[in-house]
Amino acid sequence: MFLINCPFCGEREQSEFKAGGEAHIIRPKQPSELSDDQWAEYLFMRKNIKGVQFERWNHIHGCRKWFNIVRDTSNDEIKAVYKMGEKPPVG
């Protein structure tokens, strides 16, 4: 249980949000040209990091907008929040 600072609505309880999984997985431009291995990599394989991870979240019980957060999955501490399309913070 933790608070998330929605870039559009401000700080709200995590239960207002829906986790959208690992961020910055780019959908292949030509899926039909991929091998089965490459498609599996895109579709199923996840970093599932213990530590700092980049994620997508949606404020489903608020503005319903998507955005990104940087979160330490070992203690649920949020390091940064940034909007879709913005460059992820470094370091």
Binding site: S15, A19, G21, D36, M45, I49, T73, S74, D76
Partner: protein, 417 residues
């Protein structure tokens, strides 16, 4: 067995005030080299070592455990055992485990308190009714006992359930597997540890794996907090931390690790003599031998290794519990905890070889691994010893995410994942 537990050993030890019982397993320092190293000293890992030694005559084995044995998800689950899965592959896997459970206390000479008190799964809407009837037929075709109950039969089997048609999610029926039930989860880890240790397996606790050393496609050993251990066969049974270990070997797995919570109430006199699960409202409850209600909640939807979940998840579960069992409304909850479960995209496990020779993974059990402990250990041992899966775990290979041949138990299983 050297120190067989029996009525006579109990009497004999009573004369020395039970102070001279021999340790159930030793606590050795790691040797320099092992034929097989199992990473993870939970029920599945210890069972794997036990069957490797017993059935495949490999005795030079170490089980390395970061904390203490059975201290992870083995000691955190709600101890439910059943095999009423929809798909043939799952039915084969889980019923294999259930058959071993039925003789496990005798085999291990250790009372795992396996209690076939039955597991009932409730239907709350027409689609549930259709799904559960379909699953009952599928179970019977696979030789697994299953009966469908209507509302009156549900009420008769478990009288404290509120079967009023006026509640938000009324009980329209349910399925019952009578061979299903519960077991004492700690005892399973301890029994397997004792049995494996007896056959020469080293159980090394407080030994965290820090790295996997490879030379090209060959394994050379593992770096641990107790030094380097040489081996060229590694079985990883690390549950929520599987991806962390995979990363050390340069592999990526189709897993996400999420917190799953459970809670127990204050102990009361016997009130519920079976296990009742409900998929639609996501609540399941049984009563431990100590008298506590054991209640399982759902997973959070975000990745976390924090071993604590969100409050709203248990609040939702308790809402459902109270609607189904108004009699529990004044019960106090004593303890609540979380475990980290590794979930596959198809909610089925992986018991498989990997692209790296000598490296095997047993993971992805998600929210339902405890029930499979003996079968999982047996089949994983077979896979490691023969470098080839057993026919019962062939479908649960890592390559299914490339081939598309998934075992999709999401929604098909008796409880949502």
């Amino acid at each position: 067995m050297k120190n067989k537990y029996s009525f006579f050993s109990l009497v004999k030890n009573a004369f020395s005030y039970h102070e001279n019982w021999e340790k159930a397993w030793k606590d050795p320092e790691p040797k320099k080299e092992y034929e097989v190293v199992i990473i993870g000293g939970g029920g599945h890992g210890l069972a794997t070592a036990y069957y490797l030694a017993k059935k495949h005559k490999i005795n030079n084995i170490a089980v390395v455990e970061k904390g203490w044995i059975g201290g992870g998800n083995t000691g955190r689950n709600t101890t439910i055992i059943r095999s009423n899965y929809l798909w043939d592959a799952s039915a084969g896997l889980y019923d294999h485990a259930l058959k071993i459970w039925e003789g496990l206390s005798q085999e291990l000479n250790y009372n795992v308190m396996f209690s076939q008190r039955g597991v009932m799964n409730l239907a709350h809407n027409l689609q549930d009714v259709r799904d559960l009837k379909r699953r009952t037929h599928a179970n019977r075709l696979n030789g697994i006992d299953a009966v469908y109950l209507n509302t009156e039969q549900v009420k008769k089997f478990c009288p404290i359930i509120n079967t009023s048609p006026d509640i938000r999610y009324p009980v329209l029926g349910g399925t019952l597997q009578k061979r299903a039930g519960t077991a004492r989860h700690d005892a399973v880890a301890w029994g397997y540890a004792r049995g494996a240790n007896e056959m020469g397996v080293d159980i090394i606790q407080n030994c965290e794996v820090k790295g996997i050393k490879r030379n090209g496609d060959c394994l050379e050993g593992i770096e641990t907090t107790k030094g380097f251990i040489k081996t060229n066969k590694i079985g990883v049974v690390a549950a929520g931390h599987s991806s962390v270990i995979a990363n050390m070997a340069g592999l990526k797995l189709p897993l996400e690790s999420k917190p799953l919570q459970a809670l127990v109430s204050e102990p009361v006199k016997p009130i519920i003599d079976t296990v009742v699960m409900s998929n639609a409202v996501h609540a399941y409850v049984s009563q431990s031998d100590k008298g506590e209600l054991v209640i399982g909640a759902g997973t959070d939807d975000y990745v976390s290794y924090s071993q604590k979940g969100s409050h709203d998840i248990i609040e939702g579960t308790l809402n459902a519990i109270l609607e189904l069992y108004p009699i529990f409304s004044r019960m106090k909850m004593l303890r609540q905890w979380g475990g980290i479960v590794d979930i596959c995209p198809d909610a089925s496990p992986i018991i498989s070889k990997t692209p790296i020779k000598g490296l095997y993974f047993n993971c992805g059990w998600g929210t339902g691994g405890f029930k499979a402990t003996p079968g999982s250990g047996d089949l994983f041992a077979h896979t490691i010893a023969n470098d080839e899966p057993h026919k019962l775990n062939a479908a649960f290979n890592l390559n299914r995410f490339v081939s598309g041949d998934l075992v999709d138990e999401h929604g098909a299983a008796a409880v949502a994942h």
